[in-house]
């Protein structure tokens, strides 16, 4: 009898737990208690909690404290998942009306499609004008971080997505020049496969496939048409896109079979340890290569992803000015530091990225970053998909699902149809 009661209680508890599982989906959790409010403080929300990112943030905070000693800086960083956890926490805080004074977000549609669409952000054109940032940032960058002529964030750093890392040793041994075009690339990978290398191109888990895809799409379409598909001016069902998808399907045939089990670091490592010749990954990989003890141009080399020379596919961490920021003046002070030469030169050498400004102090940056700074100043700038510039979160998430299905079934037509449907459902296509 007592046993039964206990059992029943246990089951009841389980049901309650199960029910919680369902309820938690949308229920706003009690947001983390905000730090005790003082009159003059700025609470900055980010996902920079470890490694070079956190160190870079600390360096920039030091600059801020020097310039504004009267403002208390509250670092509200949330760890985990390259920002996915932080963004979930931020969403609950915003829904609860508890906005931080400024938060980090990938510049472009990830911010615009989510927060501007919800009326949460103030334009920051006045900051760009007052501080002369328009003159020192690339002309092709501004439209990518604006909507209807309003700029919505202050980019702090710039990373490049369309970089292909290669093993100089392997290429030299096989008499291959770093490929510039898609055809040269395929020829090089065919030669390597014929020479017994099973997977000349190293790839990792699903998001790295999406990253590879955006660079191949850019290579195949060229910068103008690439921008057009994101703005709804070129149909995703068009033959041009189909050609790009077929090129991507071909690229995948050169990749490793255990890709799904590898992080981006694991995949990048295959290049420096000689298992693969190439890896397409953003230029944060360079910091990783140096961290594990390789020298630029000896352990690893780099070229723009074949077919994308002269184009800089960027992503950027940026900070925003929320509507109704609890400490608006302090937030503006923070943004002023974030956009300043001094602030960016404090942050970027530590983080391993380049400043969004083209007037960074060249003495502070290493060999790769200097080459990236030159390209940033001269190339056509286009935005990254995987890292939030060209598509809003909903659209990107649909494309990611389409990509996952494509990696399972390899069906180019179904992939294209899914991309068309994604643009209609969540993008600018009607």
């Amino acid at each position: 009898m007592r046993n039964k009661t206990l059992q029943l209680l246990l089951i009841g508890l389980l049901l309650a737990l199960a029910a919680c599982g369902g309820g938690e989906t949308t229920a706003p959790e009690g947001a983390a208690a905000p730090p005790a409010a003082t009159a003059n403080q700025v609470e900055v929300f980010s996902w920079w909690t470890g490694g070079g990112e956190a160190a870079g943030l600390d360096a920039m905070i030091a600059v801020f404290k020097e310039k504004y000693p009267e403002i208390t800086f509250v670092n509200a960083a949330v760890a985990g998942g390259a920002g996915t956890n932080a963004r979930a926490v931020l969403a609950t805080r915003l829904q609860a009306g508890d906005a931080p004074d400024s938060w980090q977000g990938h510049a472009g549609q990830e911010l615009i499609g989510t927060y501007v669409a919800a009326g949460q952000l103030e334009p920051v054109n006045f900051l760009f004008e007052q501080n002369g940032w328009i003159e020192v940032m690339p002309e092709t960058l501004i439209p990518l971080i604006s909507q209807d002529g309003n700029i919505y964030s202050v980019p702090v750093n710039i990373h490049r997505a369309n970089v292909m890392w290669y093993s100089p040793t392997i290429l030299a041994e096989n008499g291959i020049q770093p490929p510039q075009s898609m055809d040269e690339w395929f020829a090089a990978m065919d030669a390597l496969q014929a020479g017994g290398m099973a997977a000349p191109l190293a790839m990792g888990e699903q998001w790295t496939a999406l990253h590879l895809f955006e660079t191949v799409l850019l290579a195949s379409l060229g910068p103008d048409k690439y921008n057009d598909v994101w703005e709804g001016d070129l149909d995703w069902g068009s033959p041009e896109v189909k050609t790009a998808l077929e090129a991507f399907a071909k690229v995948l045939t050169y990749t490793n079979s255990d890709a799904a089990a590898l992080s981006w670091q694991d995949a990048a490592q295959l290049v420096v340890n000689g298992s693969s010749a190439f890896n397409v990954m953003g230029d944060w990989a360079e910091g990783y290569f140096r961290e594990i003890g390789f020298e630029p141009n000896i352990g690893y080399g780099w070229v723009p992803t074949p077919g994308t020379g002269g184009t800089f596919q960027f992503l950027s961490d940026s900070f925003v000015l929320p509507v109704g920021a609890p400490h608006r003046d302090a937030a503006i002070a923070w943004l002023t530091v974030a956009g300043s030469r001094e602030g960016q030169d404090a942050f970027n050498p530590v983080k391993g990225s380049i400043p969004a400004r083209s007037d960074g102090d060249r003495a502070l940056y290493g060999e790769y970053l200097l080459s990236a700074m030159d390209d940033w100043a001269n190339d056509i700038v286009v935005g990254s998909l995987t890292h939030g510039v060209v598509a809003n979160d909903s659209w990107k998430s649909e494309i990611d699902t389409a990509m996952g299905l494509f990696l399972i079934n390899g069906n180019v037509d179904a992939f294209q149809q899914a991309l068309v449907a994604a643009c209609v459902a969540s993008g600018p296509c009607q």
């Binding site: 009898m1 039964k4 009661t5 059992q7 029943l8 089951i11 009841g12 389980l14 049901l15 309650a16 199960a18 029910a19 919680c20 599982g21 369902g22 309820g23 938690e24 989906t25 949308t26 229920a27 996915t84 963004r87 979930a88 969403a91 915003l94 829904q95 989510t114 927060y115 669409a117 919800a118 009326g119 949460q120 099973a198 888990e205 699903q206 079979s257 255990d258 799904a260 089990a261 992080s263 298992s275 979160d393 909903s394 990107k396 998430s397 649909e398 990611d400 699902t401 996952g404 299905l405 990696l407 399972i408 969540s426």
Partner: protein, 295 residues
């Protein structure tokens, strides 16, 4: 009179938790249902009524088809595997061997760690790299000359999800063993003795007497394991990250809600998960309550 005061006191004591459960469990279930019938997509709530559209779209969604298939495969293997292994371990321990306490704790230990830890450890063990980069279990197989056992594990096309059941069984079979062991100990020795006197073989004793008497335990274990299985999320994320071949409803719910801001769709998946668990648990609860009433 005194009885009444006691009742009141009792009620006052449980009232806060009843209230909390009403709000935080049933209230939010209700709210999730409302959201699942809305077109909410984006940061701000949008309760525009769309009826069952989110559900209908899900049933047409190729990703959700993968989710259902994966959940079914995982549930069958995980629940079945844990029951069989748990029963086997319990029977072995029930033979009155020395050091029973030691083995009992040993088999129970995996239960003490979280699915995340289990997942990370098995991620290393089930490393699918081939060729010169063999590692984990594959490397052991290779060095033992058992090359035919080398596996692509969870990256096996189509059947990757089946391998996720291995760490889950590893973790939960000890718990199932404990349930069965309790059941076995509750069977009086006199029943076995009587059967032996009547000339039943050991096998017959298990088939005709022990297993039927254990069936309530099996039912409880199936309910407990089954609902864990339907909600599996952390284990898969820890072993393999977010990728479609190993997608399950809970992962889809999380990515679509927090990566894609499709709150309506996420809530619909959540409600479907709740319903699937309820289908499992509610008949069991009713059965139990009925039995309770009869006693």
């Amino acid at each position: 009179m005194r009885y009444k005061t006691e009742q009141l006191q009792g009620f006052a004591l449980v009232a806060p938790s009843i209230l909390a459960v009403l709000i935080f469990v049933y209230g939010f279930i209700g709210w999730s249902m409302r959201v699942s019938l809305s077109q909410w997509k984006g940061l701000l709530p949008d309760y525009t009524w769309v009826g069952l559209q989110n559900y209908l779209n899900l049933f047409k969604d190729p990703r959700f088809h993968i989710d259902i298939r994966n959940t079914v495969i995982f549930t069958l293997l995980f629940v079945g595997g844990s029951l069989v292994l748990g029963l086997l371990l319990a029977i072995l321990l029930d033979q009155g061997l020395r050091g029973e306490g030691f083995f009992r704790s040993l088999y129970m230990f995996p239960l003490a760690i979280s699915f995340i830890v289990t997942g990370v450890v098995w991620r290393w063990l089930m490393n699918p790299a081939q060729g010169a980069r063999l590692s984990g279990l594959n490397l052991i197989f290779d060095s033992l000359g058992l090359d035919f056992l080398i596996s692509k594990w969870h990256t096996t096309p189509q059947w990757g999800i089946a391998f996720i059941a291995i760490p889950a069984i590893w973790q939960m079979s000890g718990y199932t063993m404990a349930l069965y062991l309790g059941g076995l100990r509750a069977i009086p020795d006199s029943l076995r003795e009587a059967a032996r006197v009547d000339g039943a073989s050991e096998l017959q004793i298990y088939r005709r007497i022990i297993f039927p008497l254990l069936s309530p335990i099996t039912l409880s274990a199936m309910i407990i394991l089954g609902h864990i299985s339907l909600k599996v999320f952390d284990l898969i994320i820890a072993v393999a990250g977010k990728q479609l071949p190993l997608d399950v409803p809970a992962i889809y719910m999380w990515t679509t809600t927090f990566d894609g801001n499709f709150y309506g769709r996420g809530a619909a998946i959540g409600i479907l998960l709740l319903l699937s668990v309820a289908v499992l648990v509610v008949p069991y609860l009713r059965y139990n309550i009925k039995q309770e009433a009869e006693l």
